[in-house]
């Protein structure tokens, strides 16, 4: 186990701030993600959710603040580095590699593949082949888990929107991350597939994976997320259970755009 792999929070953010040449879109946000929890992040449009998400995923660099994953600082790292440390993400609009097969999409993701060192393919082809065989089995396991195994040899471009989300999930899972960030897993997904996605998230969470989910679909949030964080105007407004959040006047005001009394 990694250091700090016990009971402490899996991710701690302190004073995160980001501006794009204007007012701060994320303005001093601090929170801790509990290990083993599915944390939701909601808020009205323009609240800064996506920016916060991208800060945590290292797609953006914070202007100020600190991020620690299992106690290790990750602010200032590149996206490829934080993935290597066990923080996986999906995209709001899925980004499969369309010309690659579904299987290859997933086989790409395992970390530290020796076959990714070009010379290994010349001088140690046997070791690369053995590793590929293992990775192929792992990839098929996770494709089977998300129900895409029968499409393994199809190019990813043939997948529907919901299937692409499942492929992204499998692609992240094969690297066995400790924390997965999901950007609107329910957006644009047909209800039957959404049901499958939610089941998979629950199953993974029961196996120990922590999640942070940005989502507009309150049914999904209510079904999965404990706790829920609410953002408005670049700040964290509150945190609580889905019911607490829905009953909170500040949250209602933020969504309806009414000035607080």
């Amino acid at each position: 186990m990694a250091e700090g792999g016990g009971a402490g929070p899996i991710l701690v953010a302190e004073g995160l701030a980001k501006a794009f040449g204007g007012p701060r879109v994320v303005d001093g946000v601090s929170f801790a993600l509990q290990r083993g929890a599915i944390t939701g992040l909601i808020g009205p449009n323009g609240a800064g959710k996506t920016t916060l998400f991208n800060l945590v995923a290292a797609s953006l660099r914070p202007d100020a603040g600190a991020l620690h994953l299992d106690g290790a600082p990750i602010h200032g790292l590149r996206p490829d580095q934080v993935f290597g440390l066990g923080l996986g993400r999906t995209f709001q609009i899925p980004r499969p590699f369309p010309a690659m097969t579904v299987l290859e999409n997933v086989m790409l993701a395992p970390q530290h593949q020796q076959g990714e060192r070009f010379w290994a393919n010349w001088i140690r082809p046997g070791a690369v082949a053995a590793e590929e065989k293992r990775n192929r089995a792992r990839a098929m396991h996770w494709l089977d888990f998300v129900g895409l195994a029968r499409l393994a040899q199809e190019p990813a471009r043939v997948l529907s929107g919901g299937q692409r989300k499942l492929l992204e999930l499998a692609r992240v899972l094969v690297a066995e991350p400790r924390l997965i960030l999901l950007d609107e897993p329910g957006a644009g997904v047909a209800p039957p597939l959404l049901e499958i996605i939610m089941q998979k998230i629950v199953a993974l969470n029961q196996a120990g994976t922590s999640f942070l989910i940005v989502e507009h679909n309150m049914d999904l949030i209510a079904a999965l997320c404990r706790p829920v964080m609410v953002m408005a105007q670049g700040r964290l407004l509150m945190q609580g259970t889905p019911d607490e959040v829905r009953g909170d006047t500040r949250v209602i005001e933020a969504y309806l755009g009414i000035e607080a009394a």
């Binding site: 490829d80 993935f83 993400r89 070009f118 393919n121 010349w122 192929r136």
Partner: protein
Amino acid sequence: MELIPALSYLAFFLVFAGIFAVMALGLNLQWGFTGLFNVGVAGFVAVGAYASALLTGPPEPDRLGGFGLPVLVGWIGAMVASGIAAFIVGVAALRLREDYLAITTFGIAVVIQLVALNAQAITGGPFGIQSIPKPFADALGAGLAWNLTYLGLVVLVLGVAWWALDRLVASPWGRVLRAIREDELAAASLGKRAAAFRLQSFVLGCMLMGLGGALYAHFVGYIAPEDFLPVLTFQVWAMLIVGGSGRNAGAVLGAVLVWAIWSVSGGLIRGLLPAAEQARGAALQVVLIGVLIAAILVLRPRGVLGERATVSRHAAGD
């Protein structure tokens, strides 16, 4: 029927086609598999040609070298030298998007050519480097036997390069390259450092170009700065586009086809035009190749052979 001269010319033609094929394979790795728009091919060919000439040539009082080393050492040195040049250029330029990378590499190739022209103490300046050793020429003379022997060497080098690239493009390494080419952001989100892979591809491709330059130098026996003008870059690009980028077979077929058209048209121009018009006639060759590229892009946009979807060998269907 004059068989010997015809065979000799055929061998001569195929040696050149093979040398171009080595360069086109390097460019195919960069463009076909990585999407790097390198318009500085001639510069990296020049680095390899000069490196090998300096390493293997006889000592010259007026300039650096030669060091009289074996030809094989010269070829390896050519790859090392162009690899180092590509590394320096790549670290600086690969952060740029496609069009800027093209301008940058084009400029670098022009600079390398100008250095070759002016750094007399190293490159011999406009006079170039003469008496570059021809392997096995002592034993075989300069006739058909030597041409065929050198053709064998070129085919051997081409075969090794093909094998090495074939191992790579269908490997996990090649899979990362394809992923980066398709969606760099998604590849980064899966832990792949795009900059490192692009740099590797760029350096490996340029090493093949440098090796092509060395093969050229030891076949012709002398090199001069005008051998490495931008038209060389244009030729290699034409070969890749005509043959079909993204496939090694396309790069090799394109090299043979375009070099055949280039040679035949050059011969026709020399034969048909009066002496006074020869220089202007030579420009027709470039026009002809340009028309060929335009026709290919209209009729078969992916080249004669077309691109085949690459699947890494261990992920292919059963």
